[in-house]
Symmetry: C2
Subunit: 460 residues, 2 copies
Amino acid sequence: MLRELTGFLRIPSVSTYPDRAGDCRRAAEWLCDHLTALGCPTVQMIEGPGHPVVWAESPHVEGRPTLLIYGHYDVQPPEPLEEWTSPAFEPSIRDGKLYARGACDDKGQVYCLLKAYEAVCDASGNPPLNVHFIFEGEEECGGHVIYDLLHARPELTAADAVLVCDMSYYAPGWPAVYTALRGLCYAEISVRTLQRDLHSGTYGGVAPNALETLVRILSGLKDAAGEIQIPKLYRAVKAPSKAELKGWKKLPFDEDEYLEREVTGKALTGLKGYSVPERTWALPTLEIHGIRGGFVGDGAKTVIPAHAVAKVSLRLVPGLERDKVAKWLQKAVAKLAPRWADVEVTMLHGGDPVEVDTSHPAFAVLDEAFEEVTGRRAVHVRAGGSIPIVPELGLAGAPVILTGIGLPDDGLHSPNEKLDLDQLWSGIQIFGRFLELFAEKGGAVEESEEEELEEADAAS
Amino acid sequence: MLRELTGFLRIPSVSTYPDRAGDCRRAAEWLCDHLTALGCPTVQMIEGPGHPVVWAESPHVEGRPTLLIYGHYDVQPPEPLEEWTSPAFEPSIRDGKLYARGACDDKGQVYCLLKAYEAVCDASGNPPLNVHFIFEGEEECGGHVIYDLLHARPELTAADAVLVCDMSYYAPGWPAVYTALRGLCYAEISVRTLQRDLHSGTYGGVAPNALETLVRILSGLKDAAGEIQIPKLYRAVKAPSKAELKGWKKLPFDEDEYLEREVTGKALTGLKGYSVPERTWALPTLEIHGIRGGFVGDGAKTVIPAHAVAKVSLRLVPGLERDKVAKWLQKAVAKLAPRWADVEVTMLHGGDPVEVDTSHPAFAVLDEAFEEVTGRRAVHVRAGGSIPIVPELGLAGAPVILTGIGLPDDGLHSPNEKLDLDQLWSGIQIFGRFLELFAEKGGAVEESEEEELEEADAAS
């Protein structure tokens, strides 16, 4: 298995780099070959203006539920190369961990699911359920081939459940299911104060400085205490339920260790009175990602910049739809813009927040599998980041199960990305067991149970 | 003469570009040849770690005053090239104006003085005074060859007066003498909040953002009304005299035209209650020149930057010495730095403000020359910018006369730099007459006059 997986990891399928398009295609072909070998009668490379989507259907089993499995075969760029202990695309095992770009995000997890399906088929002698596989090659570069595909063919998402295995345990030994993802509203704020840069000697004191104007707008968007100064924003937030908050309080968490080892800073910031999970999962944020303008080379050029741009984004929690927040941001910036400046806000990218209703019985089935293999049911957590495809995968009404076998220290998007091999081996067991149970119990509570529940309801 | 001058202007002596070092040397050689042709017995290229200084002494004339003439033969880079109507180093005459990089700053003005000296020698048959020429090749790139030279050989500045002809008329028809220059305190403010950039999804809400921290520090250094928030700063400013302010009020000035044609903005900024000359000449400024940090490429990278840097500078007016202000700036930044950030202020460059005492009779002599040729004496103005070499030129005690034949719309440092040929021809007359008068009256009021003044004082 390690020989197989490392073959997959050796392919440098960096979707962002145009000259890696051939490698992305090779990774897609690797998956097609593998899915064919697993006995899928339908295996397709679906082309679009970017890297292809791999679509496969297992042999049809009448009367059994259908699971749609999502993953991605593309990876983040490996840079900075010099910080890798072993090269990013030469997988290396040290101390029970497999180091390579994509080891966890997401090739290792995709491989784990393929092996789980294979194991279940072998064990029962026949495929016990219907599995549809959809693997894209643009998750890391924001392409839209899969979006176009799902909009053109929404029937592809028709399933009893969707499994997105691109996440992590909450902590070692603590499997997790994600109940919400934050959305994103990414914008550029552009400020022009002059037709051309001016000399700060001659005009300093009277000429409006675009960078200074931008700085004042940015500092006006959030106060010193970290509160975003967009009216209505916090009022629109749908607060987590009491049960959810209670669950978060029970999670193992050491703030000092988190600050030192994960955040690598001197102090945490954020709204007072809210815990770290609340600040990262249940509250919106406003971050400045970059500022461009003026002179940033070596030396001391004394220019009054005519033009400056900031890249900013808000993370959005349930209650905050992207389009609504985009309008609020534009209004807030316009209000802060002084009369001497032309200020524009351009939306670049985004997505709505996601809420997952975990009452669907597929989640109970997954918990059973987790408990059997790890001794612990999944904790319900949220993710601060966004997976924009999630709402699309749920369009046909199937519950989307967000889970995974990663660990928090896997170094996704960073040098020395790794996958703990124990997580892989137990992951194959977990998802194998999940497929077995899901094949039996399906996407719906069994009729008899449902009737019992109805009867109970009627009696109460 | 135009053939001569355009030959000088054709040499692309851009001192900032290392691969133009040979051209800088060619420009220095051009000057040496010219000074030798003018009959100077001493003509030297003085070498240092950069572009050479040209030093020349006219034939010694016993009993006559000595004038030190300063200029520079290097020029600013010509970029952006596409904005030039005719190429920067192919001088072109259109509508009585000579277009070329360096046409005004400072080759044209240097040439004007050489021709004035030549004219005076021709007219009187013999050199009527002692002229020392010092021309540097690093004025535009901040080199220190001339500084090292003047510190090693301070006797070079021993003269009855120093003439720096690198400035402009206040307006067409309004010759000017500059009574003060602003100094400069240029610094980098560096902020580190994390050991590495973080993902804004995962850590947004708790991880301190270096750019946001920098933005808050920068906006704390100046309030929305434009007042710099450095305690003591404004109190230390030596206000211009009533006579000076009165003189500025009489200057022709159209604020709307200034805003539209020079500043090219929608509105002026700056401290309320102060005129444009006061804001640009007599008050300190704080400008942000550039900000570096985070992601500024195309697209929507969602990074929380660990590190950010701003380039800022203060312009300094009399009363504000650079070293004192540098300390105040460091203190102000330290006070604004939050506990989660490591903040450093690094001084890059600077110079003290300059005040010129125009009571020295050499100024009256220049006024006489201006009046004879243009019909108007020089107005006393200031410059918002800095010429760091000025204090060094006055070290031996000679008055430094800051003047010139440029016009405000000459486009120094910009594309399509030009010199009005009428300014050149009248400039040769003005400085020729100045040399004649200075040769007669010298650097000191004649003894008889001085006695008369003393007698008048005693009588009053």
